[in-house]
């Protein structure tokens, strides 16, 4: 039994209830386990299964709530009401949608590669769920605390694109292929700034474990690492193909892209995975930059985590509602010419600061924040100046100097319809 699992209070509680007399539970007062002695291995497995079931169902339930909440927020941003007919305040709308989706006919196009076509929805849903296995939801509430948690997240999230490519290729549809190619281009471009943006966080925390990163955040890293947060947030939005980077789905151009040929619950899984990605992204942002579950004492840590999660989700939805989509070349340009430079600046500045204060205390973190903010503002301003499309200096009024001569001459007086009559 390793120490990491024992730190996990969720796991430990279930395990100890099942196998009470174990030595690991000595510190807590459990009268007797439910299972007879010698079956600790069974208790171990059952506890693990219970946690997996709990987390998966929790995430799926969260996604259902998120879909409803997102639609309500969309409505409010567009001065509408959003879905409100089915159930109290429309909360059952997404349940009804799920039921409807399940009862639809499952279509497979004739040209499709059937095995890959059916595999793709599973491929896309699995990594989205895997991300949650390393995220601490509260004090001791997590599935596993990997010492390379951050690396694991990076690796798993990039699998999504493989699923998109599989889906597009197996559909045998040219629009889908176009969308998948965009998706791959997006991934390759944004994975790099995203990975580089968290380097600053790793340097400050001195660890890749998410638990350690939270422990190191005496000051939330959004204050210490504004540039890292900015780049990571944008890159994460691009990674999950959200507006303004929703090139893969691009409703007006590609008509849902790689989802073109999917129907029924296969489409439902894609849809679910999209929202799970949104949820996991906000969870990662919360963990890395908003000090995760840390908060004031009387309120439980899980509540703090969820509150911060909802705040991040709100910002993501706000972004999506406000911004138009970028073109594919502009998106790539932005990644390589804009975000990449910003992350480099961030890494250099953070490295210098770490060299000055190797083990930063809270006070020193505040000092770093004071230095990092001006750097962030100046560099973002500089990069936007370099990359941005300038506005027209003075678009109006040119009525005095039209580009084409209009009504500058007149026809011979005798040729006008009325005048010619008098002449005759």
């Amino acid at each position: 039994m390793n120490q990491a699992m024992l730190d996990n209070s969720l796991w430990r509680n279930i395990y100890c209830v099942l196998a009470g007399d174990s030595a690991q539970c000595a510190s807590r007062d459990y009268s007797a386990g439910l299972l007879p002695g010698g079956l600790e291995w069974l208790a171990f497995l059952l506890a693990a299964a219970a946690i997996i079931g709990l987390v998966i169902n929790g995430i799926l339930g969260g996604v259902i709530v998120l879909i409803w909440g997102e639609r309500r927020l969309f409505g409010r941003f567009q001065s509408r009401t959003g879905p409100n007919r089915w159930g109290p305040w429309g909360t059952l709308t997404s349940v009804a949608d799920a039921v409807k989706t399940m009862f639809k006919e499952d279509l497979v196009p004739a040209d499709a590669d059937r095995i890959l076509f059916n595999l793709a929805p599973i491929l896309i849903a699995a990594p989205a769920l895997l991300v949650f296995s390393v995220i601490p939801f509260g004090v001791g509430t997590y599935v596993a605390d990997l010492n390379i948690g951050l690396l694991f997240i990076m690796a798993v999230t990039s699998l999504t694109t493989l699923a998109v490519l599989t889906a597009a290729w197996s559909s045998g549809n040219r629009i889908a292929i176009l969308s998948a190619l965009r998706s791959v281009a997006l991934l390759i471009s944004y994975e790099i700034p995203m990975a580089l943006a968290v380097v600053g966080v790793i340097m400050l925390a001195g660890s890749m474990s998410l638990g350690d990163i939270i422990a190191a955040q005496g000051v939330p890293f959004i204050l210490v690492q504004p540039l890292g947060f900015f780049v990571f947030f944008i890159a994460a939005m691009a990674e999950m193909a959200r507006a303004p980077f929703d090139l893969t789905e691009a409703e007006s151009e590609l008509a849902a892209g790689y989802l073109n040929d999917y129907a029924s619950m296969k489409f439902g899984l894609f849809f679910l995975a999209e929202f799970m990605a949104e949820l996991s992204t906000s969870a990662i942002v919360t963990t890395l930059f908003l000090s995760g579950w840390r908060g004031f004492d009387p309120i439980p840590s899980q509540f703090w985590f969820i509150a911060k999660l909802i705040a991040v989700l709100f910002v993501i939805i706000w972004f999506r509602m406000t911004l138009p989509r970028l073109r594919v070349d502009q998106v790539l340009k932005f990644a390589w010419k804009g975000l990449f430079e910003l992350t480099m600046i961030n890494i250099i500045v953070t490295a210098i600061l770490i060299a000055i204060w190797p083990q930063p205390t809270t006070g020193q973190l505040w000092m770093m924040a004071a230095i990092n903010w001006p750097v962030a503002i100046i560099s973002i301003w500089g990069v936007s100046k370099l990359l941005g499309t300038p506005a027209y200096d003075k678009p109006q009024p040119t009525a005095e100097a039209p580009t084409y001569p209009v009504a500058s001459e007149s026809i011979p007086a005798g040729s006008v319809l009325g005048a010619e009559k008098g002449g005759d």
Partner: protein, 165 residues
């Protein structure tokens, strides 16, 4: 205010650079001979006394025994307008006239529309195809002798008019 060329004055001016091209004139209208339409339009566009750079409208009317192609021209520099007409297909046979697309690009879709709906052929049009109806549609609907409510038309429509996906 846009000034309108009187028909007689315009006919005189056209005769000056393209003799023998005008059939008759009255009011605001000038009737041109169909074979001279290209020369006249070229002159009307380029010559400094006309400068008709904008082709407002191009259409055709079916007058039972002949068709009439109508050009509404506008000159932006002179803020003036004129009407050209040309009788083609006398006796309803072989209605055709030279295309003005080389002179005014704006005639492109309008000439295709006239061909599609009225059946007047524009010689020299770069893309002389039907525009509203599909290739193989029987007849030209805006002609006065066109028989409506023909159920066989629907079955002549191709399944997929794009011819692809």
């Amino acid at each position: 205010m846009t000034t309108v060329w009187s028909g007689t004055a315009l006919a005189e001016a056209i005769e000056a650079f393209a003799p023998g091209s005008v059939e008759s004139s009255a009011g605001t209208d000038v009737w041109l001979k169909p074979e001279s339409i290209s020369t006249v339009c070229e002159g009307l566009k380029t010559r400094s006394e006309f400068k008709f750079d904008l082709l407002s409208s191009l259409t055709a009317v079916d007058y039972i025994n002949h068709f009439e192609v109508v050009y509404h021209l506008t000159s932006l520099p002179m803020n003036s307008s004129a009407v050209l007409k040309s009788r083609v297909g006398l006796g309803r046979s072989d209605a055709s006239i030279a295309s003005v697309v080389p002179i005014w690009r704006g005639a492109d879709y309008q000439e295709r529309e006239v061909w599609d709906l009225m059946g007047i052929r524009f010689e020299g049009h770069p893309n002389h195809k039907r525009i509203m109806l599909w290739e193989g549609y029987p007849g030209h609907p805006l002609r006065k002798d066109y028989v409506t409510y023909d159920q066989s038309i629907a079955s002549s429509a191709p399944d997929d008019r794009d011819g692809g996906e």
